[in-house]
């Protein structure tokens, strides 16, 4: 009961996830070849959002929001576009 009451008060926000490389096939883009729109309830972290759509958070090294780097504990805001970046070796 308590959970239902809470969820009724929570807001729904729309975010956009973009990915290329090895993450693209897992993301299942639906807006363009890189981008998927998602509606999320409340204020989940990026890691929680990724898990909810079947992407292991470990496969995302970090995300960029409007040219700012953010990590998996970031809580996306309504309308934000997050590009997801896979880890790579080298350098």
């Amino acid at each position: 009961m308590r959970g239902d009451a809470l969820s009724c008060q929570e807001t729904r926000v729309k975010i956009y996830l973009k990915a290329g490389g090895l993450l693209k096939d897992k993301l299942h883009p639906d807006i363009d070849q890189y981008t998927r729109a998602l509606k999320v309830t409340g204020s989940p972290t990026l890691a929680e959002i990724l898990e909810s759509i079947g992407i292991q958070p470990g496969l995302v090294a970090f995300a960029m929001v409007e040219n700012r780097l953010c990590r998996l504990d970031y809580r996306p805001k309504d309308g934000e576009v997050l590009s997801l970046h896979p880890p790579v070796s080298g350098g």
């Binding site: 292991q56 970090f62 780097l69 990590r71 590009s83 896979p86 880890p87 350098g91």
Partner: protein, 639 residues
């Protein structure tokens, strides 16, 4: 007409002081493609099995690839190779920048150098003018200083590949440097140059390289440029380069810390990519034909202590000279980077050897009596500088450490070998792998020792479960073909795996350049041919069974990770053997890790099978069949 190639080969005998020009072999070009492939075939055919890596019989090979210098994404690479003093086997290292394209424009696909010069020299190449020149004025100078001096003397348009004091003193992890921060870093190829008294190669070229279908190539590359400019991964590469993965490696518990004692470095935020960008970054750098600009040119200063410019630090340097040495100030890491660059030391093995010494001191294996009275500590840039300067000059403790961690540990005895984090004499790249079995398997079985360039399988472990052992080997085999293929072709791997420029794109370019009807499968087969040949060279020079050479430090099964997200994790000795069992089966080798005749003949290496058989090192018949396809790509691709 050999489309795609310059068409000529230089042969230099430093003992005799002779230089000869020969035509490029059609067979070599078609079946080995370039760089790593040409290095392997040359070493196989020309270097006696008992030749000293630092002796006159060893060959030092500088080889471009078929795609070097062309209008393709990041066709910048040049391969360097020789029998390595670190591993006593084939080694090849790939270097970006502008040297390879310049060499090809001068008219040469590759150079084979043998002998030992009576005096220090450098090789001067300006199109058809090729000569050995005295190097008295630069012998003893750092790599960065040498490059600056030669550019001042010869002109900015010359491209320089040089060694520093570490190479001159034949340190087993001395590198070759170029463009003030690009290196052919691993395997001690700088020591091979030093052993030959060859300080540098300076090259300038003005020739065009023939292309079969230039319009097709141009249109294809333009399309790739347009596609990649808007790719979501491009912006962070341009902004941060490889340094941005420090945070991820710590959050996943695979960042080498204090000589791989842990996989989590507390305070990693201070050495992460954004700090580099915000506090040290001066400008971006790009290699020939690349619009990614992933190189970060930096300035690091500490009042009264140092003020240096350096390219980097890249991820690997931050991992090995930073976390693994316990250094948590990015300014210090960048200074460590500068020290290694100018002394001419590989930052991976250099950082790892310093970390090994620090752990040996921590455990009482080394004492202050070995260290001029010092008490060296993890985290100290002063101790780092003390050690690398000693190593580069082979003075004091440096004489012990300059041969790498394996040889140093064998001389120290006791438990020291456990703290030498290496395979086959090459120190691990920057991923602590006690809970990354596929990645560790890649390090264990890499033909040149524990280098991420051959296989980086962290994402295989993440996808299939870090605790799982079985089922991963076939993916490692695939990675050991596709990743070295970029080196063989001589195009940058970083550009391809992450920005959705894939093998089908490069194949279209390759066909347009050469006019060959060449498939993706044939290219992977060439990569497999090279891998089996280099395995054979290793076995013939180091003896069997091969399995004994594929075992990592026993820390991987004896010591649980002490801290961080993977705390408590470690492998078992049985898991190590299971990984190898499955790997050898996936390759069609026998249980000792020796290639079988069926595999070698399938790859066109019957002569290699004959030589292995003659000394009892050919793979035996096993209960399992030879797979028709060796290696399997994960879907989606995990590079």
């Amino acid at each position: 007409m050999q489309y795609g190639f310059a068409g000529s080969v230089l042969r230099v005998d430093l003992t005799r002081g002779s230089i000869e020009k020969h035509p490029l072999s059609d067979e070599l070009a078609r079946n080995w493609l370039g760089a790593r492939g040409i290095v392997a075939r040359t070493l196989w055919e020309e270097v006696p099995l008992d030749a000293d890596p630092l002796g006159p019989e060893n060959r030092f090979v500088v080889a471009t690839g078929v795609m070097t210098g062309h209008f393709v994404p990041a066709g910048s690479k040049c391969g360097f190779g020789a029998i390595s003093p670190a591993t006593n086997s084939h080694h090849d290292a790939s270097m970006g920048g502008h040297f390879g394209p310049e060499l090809k424009a001068a008219g040469y696909d590759y150079i084979v150098i043998q002998g030992i010069s009576p005096k220090p020299v450098y090789l001067f190449i300006e199109d058809d003018q090729v000569e050995l020149r005295p190097a008295d004025t630069v012998w003893g100078l750092g790599s960065i200083d040498t490059e600056a001096r030669l550019k001042n003397e010869l002109g900015e348009s010359f491209q320089i590949a040089t060694i520093g004091p570490a190479g001159e003193n034949q340190v087993h992890f001395a590198c070759i440097s170029h463009d003030f921060g690009r290196q052919a870093g691993r395997g001690g190829l700088g020591a091979v140059m030093g052993s030959k008294k060859l300080k540098a190669i300076a090259v300038r070229g003005t020739h065009a390289i023939p292309v079969k279908e230039l319009d097709v190539l141009k249109e294809g590359t333009k399309a790739v440029i347009q596609r990649t400019k808007t790719h979501p991964n491009m912006a962070p590469w341009q902004r941060y380069g490889t340094s941005m993965f420090v945070g991820w490696a710590n959050e996943r518990g695979c960042y080498p810390t204090r000589n791989f004692q842990s996989s989590y470095f507390e305070g990693w935020e201070k050495v992460d990519g954004p700090v580099l960008k915000e506090e040290l970054w001066v400008n971006d750098k790009a290699c020939f034909g690349c619009w990614m600009n992933c190189g970060k040119y930096s300035r690091t200063t500490k009042e009264g202590r140092y003020d240096a410019f350096v390219e980097g630090p890249e991820y690997e340097t931050t991992a090995l000279c930073g976390g693994s040495c316990g250094i948590g100030d990015l300014r210090d890491v960048a200074y460590a980077n500068y020290l290694c660059d100018n002394l001419g030391l590989d930052t991976i093995s250099g950082g790892s050897t310093v970390a090994f010494a620090m752990e040996c001191f921590q455990r009482g294996i080394l004492t202050s009596a070995d260290l001029d009275g010092r008490e060296i500590q993890f985290g100290s840039i002063d101790d780092f500088e003390y050690l690398v300067r000693k190593i580069a000059t082979r003075e004091g403790i440096g004489a012990l450490l300059a041969d790498g961690t394996r040889q140093a540990a064998m001389k120290l005895g006791g438990d020291a070998l456990k703290y030498a984090i290496q395979v086959k004499g090459l120190e691990h790249s920057g991923y602590e792998s006690r809970s990354l079995p596929a990645n560790l398997l890649g390090f264990m079985t890499a033909d040149i020792g524990a280098h991420h360039n051959r296989s980086w399988a962290v994402t295989v472990d993440l996808e299939l479960g870090r605790d799982n052992i079985s089922g991963k080997a076939k993916h490692v085999v695939y990675l050991q073909h596709i990743r070295p293929l970029w080196d063989i072709l001589s195009i940058c791997r970083l550009f391809y795996g992450e920005i959705d420029v894939l093998l089908e794109d490069t194949t279209a370019s390759l066909r347009a350049i050469t006019g060959w009807d060449i498939s993706e499968e044939e290219q992977l087969r060439i990569a497999e041919r090279v891998f089996n040949l280099t395995r054979a060279i290793f076995l013939l020079r180091n003896g069997g069974p091969g399995r004994q050479h594929d075992i990592p430090s026993r820390r991987h099964w004896e010591d649980p990770v002490p801290t961080g997200p993977e705390a408590g994790k470690h492998l078992t000795r049985e898991a190590i053997d299971l990984l190898l069992d499955e790997y050898y089966q996936a390759r069609g080798w026998d249980g000792d890790g020796h290639p079988r005749r069926e595999v070698l003949e399938d790859l066109g290496l019957a002569d290699v099978a004959d030589r292995l058989e003659a000394v009892g090192l050919l793979g035996k018949t096993m209960p399992w069949p030879v797979p028709s396809t060796r290696g399997e790509m994960m879907k989606p691709a995990a590079m």
